[in-house]
């Protein structure tokens, strides 16, 4: 059995940043295990720009952003195994993995960082009636075909769901010569960033149809068309609004789900709202020495925030390995009045740094007062012109404020519309 101080599961942006931070903080033996044949994770296929504006102050493409980290990582003594799939994490942090050059690997780790990312919600979860024709795929799968494999997955396209990947793919397919007929969104608002609606749809005259869904697919072999319909306030199709749109491809961008099957087998607690893990301010999970960061923890819109979060996890793991991580009395966080969730879910009162609370709202809110309260006391109050479910927000709590909170305090992040 191999012995490492830290094993990082996943070599995407989260895993790389966590490993690098732990290395910087003095952890000596680090192993990164990555399923794909290169480091970089999903960034390798995200060839559009917009990455790194916060973190590097530059507008990078996904592969460029990833390369900043992978190049730095390969200059260290961090061990990397690509093409390696983790099969199991045991109760005592023994990681079992497999590849076609070492065979089965077992690694005993003092600490583990979970950075497996997320997966796309597939068609089956939507129960769209109709045929099983080819040409129905998630936007991410289509993105891989176009950007990595170099093949067109369709010529005439309807996209269901206005998540960022769907919007990005609408532009990508258009630039490569396909006709994108419509982007349909079940909700009355888009799930993607506003800037992507402007530069991916409006720039190319692609209609965004809100409160609209695909109710039926047609075509026996390759997809031949879809029937779309408007939905009412209960999200049910409205009879009489059906419209047939001929197309050979239906792309789905209907949500991302943290990939936590390994976490479950490792016995780590999950948050039922995020489908991610329950963590503290250093992203330590419910299990001692097991940390998590990136989309496995909560689905992010910006990789820059993933990097920030992952550095916290790396730093936390380093502190844990040195036996210096603060432990003891914690306060919990909770979202109310439109705030769907808050990460981290618990904070050590004796923490050594300011803590950012990340959260999302459940619907579009305008002229909002955002507050963080503890009992009767308002710790933070801030005005916001607009908040949307598609954009992750944060507020910063000072360490000096946290320190003074009563034991077992509950911090409430809440909104109020004017």
């Amino acid at each position: 059995m191999l012995q490492y101080d830290l094993v990082v599961v996943g070599g995407g942006p989260a895993g790389m940043a966590a490993a690098l931070q732990a290395h910087e903080d003095g952890v000596e033996k680090i192993l990164v295990l990555e399923r794909a044949d290169t480091l970089g994770g999903i960034l390798e296929q995200c060839i559009h720009t917009g990455f790194g504006l916060h973190y590097f102050g530059e507008e990078l493409s996904g592969p460029e952003y990833a390369a900043r980290f992978s190049e730095a990582l390969y200059k260290t003594n961090i061990d990397v195994k690509v093409d390696t799939m983790v099969l199991d994490i045991s109760a005592d942090n023994v990681v079992t993995a497999v590849n076609n050059f070492d065979g089965l690997l077992t690694v005993k780790a003092a600490a583990v960082v979970l950075a497996m990312g997320c997966r796309e919600r597939p068609r089956g979860a939507l129960s769209i009636a109709g045929s099983r024709a080819s040409g129905i795929m998630t936007a991410g799968t289509a993105q891989k075909y176009v950007n990595i494999d170099g093949y067109m997955p369709g010529k005439t396209v309807v996209i269901l769901g206005s998540g960022d990947i769907g919007l990005i793919m609408a532009r990508r397919m258009t630039l490569e010569g396909a006709k994108v007929k419509a982007v349909c969104e079940l909700m009355p608002y888009s799930g993607g960033l506003t800037r992507n609606i402007v530069q991916c749809l409006e720039d190319f005259g692609i209609p965004l149809r809100l409160s609209c869904t695909v109710i039926q697919t047609h075509g026996k072999e390759r997809l031949e068309g879809v029937t779309v319909a408007n939905v009412d306030e209960h999200l049910q199709p409205i009879p009489g609004t059906e419209e047939y749109i001929p197309c050979d491809t239906l792309m789905l961008s209907v949500g991302l789900i943290p990939e936590n099957e390994l976490s479950k087998s490792a016995g780590v607690a999950l948050d039922p709202v995020t489908n991610g893990l329950v963590v503290d301010e250093y992203r330590e999970t419910s299990k001692k020495g097991v940390f998590a960061c990136g989309n496995v923890l909560q689905v992010h819109d910006l990789v820059d925030y993933v990097t920030e979060e992952s550095k916290l996890a790396g730093a936390g793991a380093a502190k844990f390995i040195r036996g210096e991580k603060p432990a003891g009395g914690t306060v919990t966080t909770v979202g109310e009045n439109g705030v769907r969730y808050v990460v981290p879910q618990r904070i050590n009162r004796a923490t050594d740094k300011d803590v950012k609370l990340y959260f999302r709202v459940g619907r579009v809110l305008e002229n909002v007062t955002l507050t963080v309260t503890c009992g009767e006391e308002t710790l933070i109050s801030r005005k916001k012109r607009k908040m949307t479910p598609g954009e992750m927000e944060y507020v910063t709590l000072k360490a000096s404020v946290l320190e003074k909170l009563p034991e077992d305090a509950k911090l409430v992040v809440s909104t109020k519309e004017a």
Partner: protein, 119 residues
Amino acid sequence: MKTKELICVSCPIGCAVTVTLDDNNEVVSVTGNTCKRGDSYARQECTHPERMLTSTVKVIGSRLPVVPVKSAKPVPKELLLDCMQEINRVTVQAPVHIGDVVLANILNTGVDIVATNNA
């Protein structure tokens, strides 16, 4: 005087920006932006809009069939599809490194198309 509402696309925050123009369509003021980029984006967008362009080009001798590329700077928005035609004609030989120019001065815009991954 008239005003125009824009969403800044400079970064993923997507600020709602209000531009005030005079009768000659000259920008008088920009408000609502939260950084300098927003100001310059708004002025640019009202006079001659530009966009970053990303795509792939064919690569020979690599384990991958295509390598991703971007415009080193934004190109005029109305030239996006014309630029694609030029990019589609390019074939590069591996090895390719991040930052390598695969097509210089595309359509005389003064903008280079550069590789964004190694191949």
